[in-house]
Point group: C2
Chain length 333, copies 2
């Protein structure tokens, strides 16, 4: 591993030292007191009407994750497979679950995106080595025969939705293969609120009903899914990483430029800036009001790979069939 890449000289990969982050650089006067311990506050959280010193911020952050975990019907000794990308969210999720005493293992899916995927894997390796945490990496090319850039060249659908589908499906399978029944992902408050806004604005009712920080297992071959960070914002996670010296891969995936998910998050950021707390109130009011996610019992089995799916062919096998068609027949169906 090139050590420099985690120290700010490599592309897109930055070590976060002790200096304040841009979003923390608010003008907290020297007299500002920590809301918890009354020592000097250095972190302003307007959406919580609170200022914290670093120690108390960590307490606040862990409590928010613990509160999320208490919403999930997971036994405290249940081992958790943490899906890690090397970004701030998944590494913070892994770190805090470990701190809270959960047994964890990391799993990484190498998507084969030049530079980005290598940097991603290096960030995970550095994090796991420093903390002596077990993890495993799988290559999409080994598992499916294609990397994400190869799939992107051969299909016409937006790559983000295809990539999301692949990651969901393969992580389910890898969890079962690794013998674990629970997958944790790094989705945060901004992700969940942005997704909710996008689904509301585009009137995607079937997705709105399915959106939840906890998804139960609805089939013996499907693990439970949890989002331990759904109560903390992207900025709070950045601060947590800085305070804990977690070096993470910065910046969005280079293939996600122009993704609509970014736009809905931006719209919410604008509202949050003017009305602090909007994002949280929006998501939590929705989660409080919704009825529990109904278990889906109309699963079939894919007649190619034997995995659980709706109908008789799973989305991964359907995609693979399409990728294996001769190039010239693409798009004629």
């Amino acid at each position: 591993m090139d050590e420099n890449r985690l120290k700010g000289t490599g592309p897109g990969n930055v070590f976060r030292g002790p200096r304040l982050l841009p979003h923390e650089n608010r003008t907290l006067p020297e007299t500002a007191k920590c809301t918890r311990c009354r020592k000097r506050a250095v972190i302003a959280l307007p959406s919580h009407h609170a200022n914290f010193c670093e120690e108390c911020f960590v307490v606040f952050f862990r409590r928010a994750v613990l509160r999320a975990m208490k919403h999930f019907p997971i036994r405290p000794d249940e081992p958790i497979l943490v899906a890690v990308s090397g970004g701030k969210d998944s590494l913070a999720a892994w770190a805090v679950l470990q701190d809270l005493g959960y047994r964890t293992r990391g799993v990484h899916l190498n998507l084969g995106i030049p530079t980005f995927s290598e940097a991603s894997q290096e960030a995970i390796a550095a994090f796991a080595t420093a903390r002596n945490l077990p993890w495993v990496s799988y290559s999409l090319r080994d598992l499916l025969g294609y990397s994400i850039p190869e799939i992107r060249r051969r299909i016409r659908r937006p790559i983000c939705s295809v990539c999301g589908m692949i990651k969901r499906r393969l992580l389910n399978r890898l969890a079962i293969r690794e013998g674990l029944r629970v997958i944790a992902t790094g989705h945060n408050l901004d992700d969940e609120a942005g997704r909710l806004l996008g689904n509301l604005v585009r009137n995607r009712r079937e997705y709105i009903e399915k959106q939840s920080p906890y998804l139960p297992s609805v089939h013996p071959q499907l693990p439970e899914k949890i989002k331990p960070l759904y109560r903390v914002s992207a900025d709070e996670i950045r601060t947590y990483c800085r305070v804990h010296g977690i070096a993470y891969l910065e910046g969005a995936c280079p293939l996600s430029r122009g993704a609509t998910s970014h736009m809905f998050k931006e719209a919410l950021d604008m509202l949050e800036g003017k009305m602090p707390g909007t994002k949280r109130d929006f998501l939590f009011a929705y989660l409080d009001a919704r009825t529990a996610s109904k278990a889906v019992d109309d699963f079939g089995t894919c007649d190619r790979c034997g995995e659980p799916c709706y109908g008789s062919r799973c989305s991964v096998c359907a995609l693979l069939e399409r990728l294996r068609e001769p190039e010239q027949s693409q798009g004629s169906a």
Copy 2:
């Protein structure tokens, strides 16, 4: 009336001449053809994937309003009371309803906001005189004993919501007094989509269910309410006013600075700029999916003024009681 105020020299009151408006100043090449007639196009409507010449834009605009009117169960010969403020929306609504052959009368509620309310009344007078249209103006101070600035000084609630309540209630009463059964307001696509977004983000379910471009009469003393412009955007209305030489009062009410409704519209404008058509799809999908507004039959009668209301005291009388309390007891209830 000071003629200059409608020619761009008065405060906030601007005559729109034939030059292109900022939102129209898109780089339509000289070769751009009108989507309808193939003559040279000068108006770009990316949300409709259309470019228009001025004549065809007017056809498009009138058809959008006619389509809205066909959604409302209003007889074509039913006279309509148009609530006018002197702004682009209400004057355009009045103009197009008149053009479509409806019998209309304008009604203006002078709120007593210095400069703004005078300019408002002058814009209406100029419009109505040029077109020989009947209208009537009432002063809030005459009707209630207080102007909006006076009410604002004496209450602690945000003035926009109080002012909205007063206008709704008084317009209902004035319609009955004028002998008309239908009130039209100038609410446009941006207003309705912004309001929907605000109610969704703040989880105001009771308001979401009531939001509709048509509200039936639910009591003999309450008129029907229609929003003829709910299918056209603020920018489209500005263009319509420019093409028709309608001089309107520009700019928001000076007391509405910082109103949250502006922020939700701004968030939608951002999304619309990146994904043209978002606003319309958002609002129309919601309107298509919702069930018809249920008639409310649990009306009582205000025991002070005899007007229909929920419970035994109408909001206007409740406000007046509060305003008449001695100043020092304010906020003690």
